[in-house]
Amino acid sequence: MNGLNKQAANAAVWLVLLTMPYWMGAVGGYTELACRILVLGLAAMALNFLLGFTGVLSFGHAAYFGLGAYGAAMTLRYLVPSTPLSIVVGVVVGTIAAAIIGAMIVKLRGVYFAMVTIAFGQVFYFITFRWNSVTGGDDGLTGWKRQALKLGFATVDILHNDKAFYYLILVLFAAAVGLMALLLRSPFGRTLIAIRENERRARFLGIPVEQHIWLSFVISCFFASLAGTLYALLNNFTDPRALYWGQSGNFVIMAVLGGMRSFWGPLVGAAIFVVLQDYVSTQTENWMSFVGLFFVLVVMFFPRGVLGILRRKTAS
């Protein structure tokens, strides 16, 4: 894709995101659905920073997503009624956990790395599942709500005004995605692409591969935990399923579905996943079978994902 096409694609994405709450209703959706697309899209893009742009598959990103969610929820439930602070706490908790666990696993590769990320994810899952008195256990953590934003000069009621909450998410989403784009175009970002393309060559060009994979993992989990905090705030609730390895699998599915080699691919994948889930689950309880079938078809016929098809069309 040439520069002009790329700019047009970016403009189109932002236009859609900026106006989404206003036409969602007309096409059978609702604002909360738009919020879910943004939040899960951010999580899938965060995973893809590691998967698509560093070439490392994590099957345990729900752990950091979930730690973000619980960090935010527990801050609001037990500490202070402040939405911004809850986001900060969630992100800090998720990122610190990723920094520690990342340091232990960066020497592993391929399926071993994926397996160990699952294992660590399940550790956090069982902690939230069992520690009833603090996390609410299987029933989830209730008894809290996201709080209105006090900006000094004005107060924004993000609890009752769902459009206002959507735009709060969009602002954070834009900041996160902008940061990711900046990182990927930097010399540091190119070292990650180098590792994805040929780890041995990267190492023998003087790149300390483990250090760079660790950084990529931590950055990726930083964004995943931000998405997790927003997910909890969106639902005014969180439960252990936010950390379950099935959730990690969903993020991978979204990234692959949309196209993990393209920047916006995972967002498109998340949108398809969320809409499909929303629609099919009103028809049948077995909605996952249909999402799965769709996924298999995409992988079989369009291995580069939905955006991979579009890209080939514009290139030819």
């Binding site: 900046l182 010399p187 540091f188 040929n198 041995r200 060559r201 990267a202 060009l205 003087g206």
Partner: protein
């Protein structure tokens, strides 16, 4: 002071002794060839020098410092670059991008998380220089994976050169090439050696290439040094002829 000194290096893989007590001294500005039959331990020897894995015993001294236990990327930072027997490049990136990455790493930019306009000018200039030197300027925006083998090899050598090495290790640079490509790559190596005064150690199978290029030759057989000397001396050596032509000689 010699640039590289390998002292009595050995490497065992279980009961197999791939390299057995090999010593080598390379002076600055020298072009040294390492030859030997298949399975002689040449590539294993290169892997010990470049830090792919550490030796079982022995020492590697580079530029006066003991680097025996140093990881590969730190040896690269000290000025040791290498290519591989099977070309190792970034096939899905363009030639320009392939060169840009080592240029940025060698400029100390690998952890810079934003675009720096100032650094970018310098990087672009250096990449253009390398493209010219490798004869790749007209293919700069092609994907490397789509180029012929000779151009891929030239890209790999240029990537190593982008690191501003003081020692360049080339593992069979003309392997699998036709006559024209072999000639082009040989000429490129000779230019790097003569014009840039680069110290080079190369493994090679093609005798024409070696006798054309090398100042001195080391012959390995079954993991140990069989002979060492100038191309003339090696050409006349009975042991070498025996190793290449069969035990009967």
């Amino acid at each position: 002071m010699s640039l590289l000194r390998v002292e009595n290096a050995s490497r065992h893989f279980g009961s197999l002794i791939a390299v057995n007590g090999v010593s080598l001294t390379v002076e600055p500005g020298e072009l040294r060839a390492v030859i030997g039959p298949n399975g002689a331990g040449k590539t294993t020897f290169f892997n010990l020098i470049s830090g792919f894995f550490p030796p079982t015993s022995g020492r590697i001294i580079f530029d006066g410092k003991d680097v025996t236990q140093l990881p590969a990327h730190k040896r690269v930072a000290m000025g040791m670059a290498r290519t591989f027997q099977i070309t190792e490049i970034f096939p899905e990136l363009t030639v320009r991008e392939n060169l840009r990455i080592p240029v940025e790493v060698s400029a100390g930019l690998r952890l810079v998380p934003w675009r720096s306009r100032r650094a970018e000018g310098e990087v672009t200039r250096r990449v253009a220089e390398l493209l010219d030197m490798g004869g790749l300027a007209d293919k700069a925006d092609r994907l490397v994976g789509e180029l012929p083998h000779g151009d891929q090899r030239a890209t790999e050598i240029m990537m190593s050169l982008a690191l501003k090495p003081r020692l360049l290790l080339l593992d069979e640079p003309t392997a699998g090439m036709g006559d024209q490509e072999t000639y082009d790559v040989t000429r490129l190596i000779r230019r790097l050696h003569k014009e840039q005064k680069l110290t080079i150690v190369l493994i090679e199978h093609d005798m024409r290439v070696i006798f054309n290029l090398a100042d001195r030759i080391m012959v390995l057989a079954e993991g140990a040094i069989l002979a060492e000397g100038t191309p003339d001396e090696i050409g006349k050596d009975e042991h070498v002829q025996a190793a290449y032509l069969g035990k009967a000689a």
